[in-house]
C-alpha cells in the first residue's frame, strides 16, 4: 500500500520520486526498465536557467518571455513563471547532486546559446546533458532506495489505471516479458511515461517512449491537450531506422545551415533572419528548411536534405563540447563532421501536447497527475531547446508536491476491489484477440499514416485522408493476434485511438501557430484559437475535441 505510485523513471519520474521521499511519503517508482535506459539519457544540448553569470543581464522574467514567445502565446504564463523562477535553483540542486556540468574558467556551470534565446542560458555537459543529469538523479534515488525511503520496481509496464467513481486508486501492470495483469494500490498515481514517439516511428527518441501508457489512460477517459503540437527538430539525419538528432548545440556553438544555389553555398537562415540566423526557434528553422527544399527545389542533389556545417569550428570544440555529436555522425552516418557537412532534414522530436494538466500537474481525473514529456505544460505551440529537461525535473517536483498528503479516497477493501476489477477487465480485453495479424506489422502502417498526416504542413484534405486510412487500420486491427501477442495487440489498439485524437485535434485547429502549420489556414488566429485543444474519449467510442481557455482547471 503506497501513498504515491510513480510510473516512468526518466527525469520527471526520478525528480517526483526524490521529492516524495524527502517528504516522507510511501512511494513506489515503477518502470519497465532501469533509469539508465530511459529516453532522458539521450538529451544532448542542455538545460535552461537564467543564472545570469555571463554579464548579459539575464533574468527568469526574460526566460519566461522567451518561452512564451517561442510557444506562440499558447503556454500558461503563470505556470511558466513558476518554471523559469525555479530554474536557477534546479541547476544548483543538480550540481550539488554531482551532475558533471561543463564549467567555465572560474569553475562555474557554463552556459551556451540555444535557439530562440538571445542570452547564454543553456547549462550543458558537452553534448550529453541527459546522461549526466540522469547519472546524478538516479544515484540519489538509489541512495534513498537503500535507506528504505523509495521502493523501486524496474520490471513492470503500466497497462491501465484503477478508476472508481471518486478517482484513481492505483495502477494495473504487466511484468516485462509476459504475465497476467496485477494491481498496485496507492492514493495517487503520477504518470511520467514520456512522449508518444512510438506512434510515429522514425523519430529521434527511444523505443521505450511508445505512448502506450498515455493511450491507455486516454482510453479510460483522461483528457489530452494540444495533441497537434508536435515538434519537428530541424536538424536530424537519416540514421538506421531512426532520425539521428544533431543537437542544437551544433548551431549554438556556431554551426551554419546551408544548401547549394547556383553551385555556391547559400546560408539561407542567415540571409532570411539576419538577427536570429541559425538559432531561430525550431519551428521557424524547420519550416525554412522545408521551404528551401520543397518550394525552391534546392535540396542537396535533389534529396530531402540541406547541410549543416561545423567543420570550421576549433578542433577542441568538436572534441569536447560537441564530442557525442561527432561520434554519432561517424558511427551512424559515416560522416566526419570535422571534414564534411552533415546532411540534415527535420524529424519528429518532441511532443508539446499530452495529458491535459493544470499548473499543479493534476489531470482531468482526480488522483491522477502527469509530468515530463507526457504532460501538456510549459511549451505551448513550440518548445525551446533546453526547456524540456527543465520542465521534466520541475514538473515532477510540482506533481509530487501536489500529490503529497492526499487523504484516502477509498477504503483498502474498495481499492482491492477496483484493482481486481480493472486487472480482470484488462485480461478479458486482451483475451478477445485471436487473429493472425502480428501487431508490429500494423504498427508500422500506423506510423506511416501518422508521419504523412501530421507532416510539418497539414491541410484538411491531408488530415482527412490520414483519418480515413486510420479507420481502415482500426478495422483491420480486429484480426490482430492473440496468445503471446495479445497484450501487444491491445496496446496497439490503444495507440491507434490516441493517434486518431491527434489527427482530430489537428483538424480542429483551423489556424497556423508554432509547430502546427495548416497550408489551408496559413494565418495565426488569436481570436479563434488562442486556447487549448482538448480531446476526450467518450464511453460511446467517439472522440470529442473542444477548446478550453489557457490556464483553466482540467477537472472542471
Amino acid at each position: 500500500m503506497y501513498d504515491i505510485l510513480i510510473v516512468g523513471n526518466g527525469l520527471a519520474g526520478l525528480s517526483a520520486a526524490i521529492t516524495c521521499a524527502e517528504a516522507k511519503a510511501r512511494v513506489l517508482l515503477v518502470s519497465s526498465n532501469q533509469p539508465e535506459r530511459s529516453q532522458s539519457v539521450m538529451a544532448e544540448g542542455g538545460i535552461n536557467a537564467a543564472l545570469d553569470q555571463k554579464g548579459e543581464d539575464d533574468s527568469p522574467a526574460q526566460h519566461l518571455a522567451d518561452t512564451l514567445r517561442a510557444g506562440c502565446d499558447l503556454a500558461d504564463a503563470q505556470a511558466v513563471a513558476g518554471l523559469t523562477t525555479a530554474a536557477p535553483e534546479i541547476i544548483r540542486w543538480a550540481d550539488r547532486l554531482g551532475t558533471v556540468f561543463s564549467r567555465d574558467e572560474e569553475g562555474r556551470v557554463d552556459q551556451r546559446c540555444f535557439g530562440g534565446q538571445k542570452k547564454k542560458r543553456t547549462a550543458y555537459a558537452n553534448a550529453g546533458i541527459g546522461r549526466q543529469l540522469m547519472a546524478a538523479l538516479s544515484r540519489q534515488c538509489r541512495k534513498l532506495e537503500s535507506e528504505g525511503r523509495i521502493e523501486v520496481r524496474e520490471d513492470l509496464r503500466l497497462v491501465s489505471a484503477a478508476l472508481g467513481d471518486r478517482g484513481c486508486c492505483g495502477g494495473v501492470f504487466r511484468r516485462v516479458g509476459g504475465g497476467e495483469p496485477e494491481g498496485i494500490a496507492a492514493e495517487g498515481l503520477i504518470l511520467c511515461c514520456g512522449g508518444p514517439g512510438g506512434l510515429f516511428g522514425n523519430n529521434t527518441g527511444s523505443l521505450l517512449s511508445d505512448g502506450a501508457a498515455a493511450a491507455a489512460l486516454f482510453s479510460q477517459g483522461a483528457a489530452m491537450a494540444d495533441l497537434e503540437m508536435i515538434q519537428y527538430h530541424p536538424t536530424t539525419a537519416a540514421g538506421p531506422g531512426k532520425r539521428l538528432l544533431i543537437s542544437e548545440a551544433a548551431r549554438g556553438e556556431g554551426g551554419r545551415l546551408f544548401t547549394y544555389k547556383e553551385g555556391k553555398p547559400w546560408y539561407f537562415m542567415e540571409e532570411w533572419f539576419p538577427e536570429g540566423g541559425n538559432l531561430m526557434p525550431r519551428d521557424v528553422v524547420s519550416r525554412s528548411i522545408y521551404k528551401v527544399v520543397r518550394e525552391l527545389g534546392l535540396g542537396v542533389e535533389g534529396r530531402d536534405e540541406v547541410l549543416l556545417d561545423i567543420s570550421f569550428l576549433p578542433k577542441e570544440v568538436l572534441d569536447t563540447r560537441l564530442a557525442e555529436i561527432c561520434r554519432n555522425c561517424r558511427t551512424f552516418l559515416g560522416v566526419d563532421p570535422a571534414r564534411e557537412p552533415i546532411p540534415v532534414w527535420p524529424g519528429v522530436h518532441y511532443f508539446m501536447g499530452g495529458f491535459y494538466v493544470g499548473a499543479d500537474h493534476a489531470c482531468s481525473i482526480p488522483r491522477l497527475w502527469a509530468a515530463g514529456e507526457c504532460a501538456c505544460q510549459y511549451h505551448g505551440a513550440n518548445r525551446l531547446g533546453g526547456n524540456s529537461t527543465l520542465g521534466a525535473i520541475y514538473g515532477g517536483r510540482v506533481a509530487a508536491e501536489s500529490a503529497l498528503g492526499a487523504s484516502p479516497l477509498y477504503s483498502a477493501a474498495e481499492k482491492e476491489a477496483l484493482l481486481e476489477r480493472e486487472a480482470r477487465r484488462q485480461s478479458e480485453l486482451a483475451a478477445a484477440f485471436s487473429g493472425r495479424l502480428r501487431p508490429p506489422r500494423l504498427r508500422q502502417e500506423l506510423q506511416q499514416v501518422m508521419r504523412e498526416g501530421m507532416a510539418i504542413f497539414r491541410s484538411e484534405e491531408q488530415l482527412a485522408a490520414a483519418l480515413g486510412r486510420l479507420y481502415s487500420l482500426e478495422e483491420e486491427a480486429r484480426g490482430l493476434a492473440g496468445g503471446a501477442e495479445a497484450a501487444d495487440s491491445l496496446t496497439l489498439t490503444g495507440q491507434m485511438r490516441l493517434a486518431r485524437a491527434m489527427l482530430l485535434s489537428a483538424l480542429a485547429r483551423r489556424e497556423s501557430r508554432g509547430a502546427h502549420q495548416r497550408s489551408d489556414f496559413p494565418a495565426r488566429d488569436d481570436a479563434g484559437f488562442r486556447c487549448v485543444t482538448v480531446a476526450q474519449y467518450g464511453a460511446d467510442g467517439n472522440i470529442n475535441v473542444g477548446f478550453r481557455p489557457i490556464g483553466a482547471d482540467p477537472c472542471k
Binding site: 539508465e36 529516453q39 539519457v41 547519472a135 546524478a136 544515484r139 561520434r327
Partner: protein
Amino acid sequence: MQVILRVKRQAGPESRPYWQEFSCEAGPDSSVLSLLEEINSSSPLTDAAGAEALPIEFESGCRQMGCGACAMLIDGYPRLACATFLRQLKLKEGVITLAPLSKFPLLRDLHVDRGVLTEDVKRMKLWLNHDAVVDKKELPYAYQSASCLMCGCCAEICPNYQAGTAATGSAFTGAAVMNQAYRAASQYPPGKERRRLLKENVAAGQGHCSRTLSCLRVCPLELPLDYIISRGNHMYLKSLFERDKSHEK
C-alpha cells in the same frame, strides 16, 4: 545480400536453450539491431526452415549507442547490436551468431537481467552524503565515468567477473561499478567519506582486477577505464595519508 541470423533462444531461466536460424536481406551498413527488428516485425514470423517462430526477445531503446539496452554476444563478442554493422563482421558463410550475455541471469532469449550491477552500486553505497565538490582535474574523467551505459559488455569480457545474485551482489564488481566508485570519490573532498568509498572499491573492485584491460577493448564508448581504474588506486593510496578536510571551509 542474404544473411543467416543464428539466435540462441531460451523461453525462460529454467527452459532448455536451443538455436534457431532466421534468414534476412541486409546490406553492409545494416545494424544487427535492425535485422532483429526486421525479423520480429514480419508477419507471419518464420525461421529459415519456414516454420512459424515466436518473436525474439531482446532489449533496445535509443538505437544510437546511448542507452546500453541492446548489449549481446555477437559472434561471441559482447557488443551493442545497434552500433554493430554487418561490414564489421566476418560473416563466415553469411552467418551471424547471437547469444545473450552469459554472465547475467537470463530472462528470455537475448534478454538478461543486469540489475546485479545496480545491486553492487547499492551494496557498496556508491553515492554522495555530501554536496558534490568540483575537482577540475578529475572533471573530464568524472564526465566520462558518468557516461557509462551500464551495458555490461565490460563485465562480460572480464576474466575475473562473475555476477552474483541480486541479494549477494558479486564478489568482484567489474569496470562499470568501479567507474561509479571513482566518480563518487572524485566528488568528495579528501576525508573519511572519500576514504570509505575508495576502500570499498579496493575490497570489491581494484583488489580483484588483474589489469588485463579487456574491458577497455570492448567498451562501446571507449571510456578511459584504464585511467579510471588506476586513478581510483592512486586516490586510495593518497587517502591513507590525508587529513580530513571535509569539515573545513
